[in-house]
Symmetry: C2
Subunit: 232 residues, 2 copies
């Protein structure tokens, strides 16, 4: 049996990385189904960006998947702990960040896997990156490989279609600068995306959290100007 490789499910947070992988998947000819997650993140503004990015890209379907927040407490991205600001590279790369959310990518990929069986897609795109932000365990290549193995064992499609699942992580070895260069060539409008972890500015970016700093450094490395508005 030939596996239908016309459709891809793309995990779309609304940030810079995931907006780039959507463009990459489309450039590779996939008919894209985007899935975003509401997991009680304080920077919920990113979901508005996800909607804009999905609409501009003309995806076939975009769903916002509601996650039960009971299992997501304890992170600076969901709880009462403050998002760290103005950390240097050494601080950012020291261990696992407090913005780590328990088993987040596993929960996201599992939901995407279920949906992919429903829409009959066997190609999942995820914007994980192991270079700039190496602290997250679920952004490493060995993690992505383990999930691909699991996906093919876990599912009806895996059994009946000879392990058809492929987890695509095209950004995994790129620097932020390379990601921005790639997306810019593919026509991504980074002005629609959102990266800031600070929820207090209602969509304006703080410029000081880890995510803003990595983003700004990436644009600088790419020799490009970030189209977003920053608070200072």
């Amino acid at each position: 049996m030939t596996v239908d490789r016309s459709k891809a499910v793309v995990l779309l947070s609304g940030g810079l990385d995931s907006s780039t992988i959507l463009a990459i998947a489309q450039d590779q000819g996939f008919d894209c189904y985007a899935i975003s997650f509401d997991y009680g993140q304080r920077h919920k503004f990113e979901l508005e960006s996800a909607k804009k990015v999905a609409a501009k890209a003309g995806v076939t379907q975009h769903i916002i998947y509601q996650l039960d927040t009971q299992a997501f407490s304890g992170s600076a991205l969901t709880g009462a702990v403050d998002v760290p600001k103005d950390r240097n590279e050494g601080e950012m790369s020291a261990g696992i960040p407090i913005t780590y959310v328990p088993a987040r990518n596993t929960v996201f990929l599992s939901a995407a896997l279920g949906w992919s069986e429903v829409v009959e897609s066997y190609d999942l795109f995820v914007g994980v990156n192991a270079v700039d932000y190496s602290g997250y365990p679920d952004c490493r290549p060995e993690y992505i490989e383990a999930f691909e193995t699991l996906a093919n064992l876990a599912t009806k499609a895996g059994v009946e279609q000879g392990a058809p699942y492929r987890i695509h992580a095209p950004l995994i070895s790129m620097t932020k600068g390379e990601i921005i260069e790639t997306g810019t060539k593919l026509g991504v409008d980074y002005g629609l995306t959102h990266s800031c972890y600070d929820p207090s500015l209602e969509g304006v970016s703080c410029g000081h959290c880890d995510s803003c700093q990595l983003r700004l450094k990436g644009f600088e490395a790419a020799g490009l100007t970030d189209p977003l508005t920053y608070a200072d």
Copy 2:
């Protein structure tokens, strides 16, 4: 560092199998945290059973985790397709049943994994069984092993505590009769559990769906009487 093995997270559907693993985990000395899932199953009565079983067992905490049903369509357990009745063993074991729910155990185990990091438990108990109901891909030993590998790669605890996660599937090679014998010895009150897939009888069991038939056959094999009330 010594891994804290005092607590276990137990996936508790309210059915016969998961009620038995809760008793097994407690018998092994674990302080148990039970997690049940509302995934739009039509036989929602099982969640009431889960509450009763968890309360009787005296678990430390019991949560009902709400899953977004957008990624769960297409199964006889969640959709408009009728639950099959009065199938013989040959029919039941032919391929993957229409009661298959896309990536269900992966979604359940991922949520449980996230919660386990929050409560600081590294032992997850799941009542999968590969003998009586071999049609589900996510009930096979190789699937459980793959998830254990993933759990240790995916998490902060996995990285910082040297792959502490253990996925316990003590029923995986047991017949339904052996499961019932084991649970009975451990004092499980099977009168509190619920197995029937038919939602129309409001908690009374139909006796004809695959789940009821396997249950009844199991009690017969164990030489015991099922305490549940059946419709006929």
